[in-house]
């Protein structure tokens, strides 16, 4: 115990180490704080917007208190859908800045509504968010390097290495020093995350996994640093090699991989989808309306006994061709989504080789702010859209009058439950390898002899 206290004193009396530790702690705390603030502001926005939309729906009711077949209410009612941030979202804000987390949906063609973007300043989004994931993946390794690059060379360059190694077999010395530095960095990162998790009310399981990710990412960088440090090079050479490794692993390879991924899995822009859907929807005006109805009834046989279309405009035809438009691009929608998921799968696989990518994948999955979350929200909207149509169709197709009590019984959106955590084998596998690397690094260090003078 005394020895550990002595080691601690040694670290605390080195200005570089103290400054590094404090800075990392502050950055992690700042990231957690700004994540919590962002999540709170998203909740606020959702709370602000809900009554606004309610008023909007109420105004539709005042304008069309009685409608012959629900056509006007269905056309003019925009329904509020939203995707509240999860309890862990503060850790990794993910795509929530560029993809909308609330959308107004009506019973018209879904495909023309689903890809609406959010208003965001692309120049601000470009460098990425400053959140806990950023601190862990980009910044923490630099602090590991700062604390470990002169672990051996510092002792050698100040002439103590021979004396120290002559005192014991070295294992004890390095084990202690490494464990202490590891513990301190773990506290600097883990404590803010822990406090944030308590404030945000994160589930214990998710918190445990978050801490495991933090511990494993650190383990990777410790392992790598120890391997390099144990080579016994000079401090600046060690720092150079480690920094280069950091650049390659967190800046170069992921960007290269992104390029390769986008090339090998081309996702043909959703533009095709929109163009096709528009052709299908507007084409309806050119073909005999009965033909559209037949196509609609083919997939919705329960309405085929509805009265024939009058010679003038009828809403049921309007809603039918929107639905037919959606159905005509269903295959393309599936292909589009499959492509996106395929990209996700491959980028997850990179977790085997790049622990930063693995940690990012796990944190964003836990936070439920990744591509899957975005798609799950779209699915939830799809379900709701179906509910809306199921609600309006009886009025439209049975000529049922739509009155005030019908407004009250319109379907209400219920947000999705955060998707259950699905095990990501490659990301966790990569992180498990990190511990192996850590052990290897420790072993190498224990073999160190102060030979070259």
């Amino acid at each position: 115990m005394k020895g550990i206290l002595c080691e601690l004193r040694l670290i605390l009396r080195s200005r570089l180490s103290v400054a590094s530790l404090l800075l990392l702690f502050m950055l992690a705390a700042l990231a957690v704080l700004s994540g919590l603030r962002e999540v709170a502001s998203q909740h606020e926005t959702l709370a602000r917007v809900a009554p606004l939309n309610k008023q909007d729906l109420a105004s539709v009711e005042t304008r069309y208190p009685q409608d012959a077949n629900g056509g006007y209410p269905a056309y003019y009612s925009f329904h509020n859908t939203w995707d509240p941030p999860s309890n862990a979202a503060f850790l990794a804000l993910g795509m929530r800045d560029v993809a909308p987390y609330m959308l107004r949906i009506r019973a018209l063609g879904l495909q023309a509504q689903l890809y609406e973007g959010e208003t965001f300043n692309a120049e601000l989004a470009l460098p990425g968010r400053f959140d806990f994931a950023f601190v862990l993946i980009y910044l923490a390794p630099l602090f590991v390097i700062a604390l470990l690059h002169d672990l051996v060379s510092g002792e050698r360059q100040s002439g103590r290495l021979r004396l120290l190694l002559a005192m014991s077999d070295g294992k004890r010395l390095w084990r202690r020093r490494v464990a202490l530095r590891y513990g301190l960095l773990l506290i600097c990162l883990g404590l803010p995350a822990l406090v944030g998790a308590l404030i945000a009310g994160m589930a214990a399981g998710a918190l445990a996994m978050t801490l495991a990710v933090i511990a494993s990412s650190l383990a990777f960088w410790f392992g790598l640093s120890l391997l390099v440090t144990a080579r016994g090079w000079r401090s600046s050479a060690t720092a150079t090699v480690l920094m280069s490794a950091w650049v390659v692993l967190t800046l170069v390879v992921p960007t290269l991989a992104n390029v390769m991924l986008n090339r090998s899995i081309p996702v043909h822009q959703g533009v095709d989808l929109m163009l096709a859907q528009r052709q299908a929807v507007h084409g309806a005006w050119e073909i005999p309306r009965q033909e559209t109805m037949q196509r609609f009834y083919a997939n919705h046989p329960q309405w085929q006994d509805s009265a024939a279309l009058p010679p003038t405009f009828h809403w049921k035809w309007y809603f039918a061709f929107h639905q037919v438009g959606d159905e005509s691009v269903a295959d393309q929608v599936r292909a589009y989504r499959a492509g996106l998921l395929q990209r996700q799968v491959w980028s997850d696989r990179l977790g085997w080789a790049l622990p930063g990518v693995g940690a990012q994948a796990i944190l964003h999955r836990l936070a439920d702010t990744d591509l899957q979350a975005q798609l799950a929200y779209q699915d939830r909207i799809g379900v709701f859209h179906q509910q809306l149509r199921d609600f309006y169709y009886p009025y439209l197709f049975n000529e049922q009058p739509f009155g005030r009590q019908d407004y009250a019984s319109q379907p209400q959106f219920t947000p999705r439950e955060p998707s259950a955590y699905a095990f990501q084998p490659s990301a966790w596998g990569g992180l498990a390898l990190a511990w192996l690397l850590f052990m290897l690094g420790g072993w190498q260090l224990a073999q160190l002899r102060p030979n070259q003078q």
């Binding site: 005394k2 020895g3 002595c6 080691e7 004193r9 040694l10 009396r13 080195s14 100040s158 002439g159 103590r160 021979r162 004396l163 120290l164 190694l165 002559a166 005192m167 014991s168 077999d169 070295g170 004890r172 010395l173 002899r449 102060p450 030979n451 070259q452 003078q453």
Partner: protein, 247 residues
């Protein structure tokens, strides 16, 4: 006292027999034979590159001999470094300790590293025995002179209470008064039965304290002289020979 020439092998603490060793394909020691006994101060002299520090590295277990055997109190230092190092204390050239720690803290820390339990009384005792003024015990080493640092290092060796002491150029950079004080300490240790091996350039200082002096040249012990008995050495003759070897 016990430095009679025909001491039995049992009292030999540092033992190197027919040792060959070197770094990265470069052989430095070629058939070294060296024995240091309990309560003996052995000074190893030699020019730069003769293999002095390599010899120390062998006893410290930092280096594996390519031939021959090395033993510290009967233990192979390369095979069982922890066991061997428990038997010895080492003071490197240019004593470097932790500048940010006080004398007491340095000792406490390093003794702990050597897995040796030391209370504050025994630490203070060692520091006093090494000749450090008590008011300096709690000052950080950053403000110490070279002589004072040397005393802390000796105190460390004293506190270790080990049978072997290895010294690398212990008196280089010390003024004559500090050197005399240092030699007094070595004598103290010798009386306690410690085997001391010092490698040095400084013939005068070595002649002052050493029981035996060995000359190392090109990786071999070329001559060994004793301070007492028939082959008692004469400093002037030695100096001449030493400079010839070094040339």
């Amino acid at each position: 006292m016990q430095s009679s020439p025909n001491t039995s092998a049992a009292t030999t603490v540092l033992d190197a027999r027919d040792v060959e060793a070197g770094y990265a394909g470069k052989t430095i020691l070629r058939g070294l034979n060296l024995h240091v006994r309990r309560g003996e101060i052995y000074a190893l002299l030699g020019a730069n590159g003769a293999g002095k520090t390599t010899t120390l590295s062998l006893f410290l277990g930092f280096l594996k001999p390519s031939a021959g055997t090395v033993l510290v109190n009967g233990v192979d230092p390369f095979g069982a470094p922890a066991d061997a190092r428990r038997q010895l204390a080492y003071i490197p050239e240019n004593v470097a300790l932790y500048e940010h720690l006080s004398a007491r803290e340095n000792l406490a820390y390093l003794l702990d590293l050597a897995r040796q339990h030391a209370d504050s009384r025994s630490i203070d005792g060692a520091l006093s025995a090494a000749g450090l003024q008590p008011e300096a015990f709690d000052r950080r080493l950053a403000g110490f002179s070279k002589g004072m640092r040397q005393k802390v290092a000796i105190a460390l060796a004293l506190a270790r209470q080990v049978p072997v002491l290895l010294l690398d150029e212990p008196t280089s950079g010390l003024d004559p008064q500090a050197t005399a004080e240092f030699n007094r300490l070595l004598n103290l240790l010798r009386e306690q039965g410690v085997a001391i091996l010092m490698v040095t350039h400084d013939l005068l200082s070595a002649a002052d304290v050493a029981d035996r002096i060995g000359f190392l040249n090109a990786g071999q012990l070329v001559e060994e002289v004793a301070a007492s008995g028939d082959d008692r050495f004469d400093v002037r003759t030695l100096h001449r020979r030493y400079t010839e070897l070094g040339a």
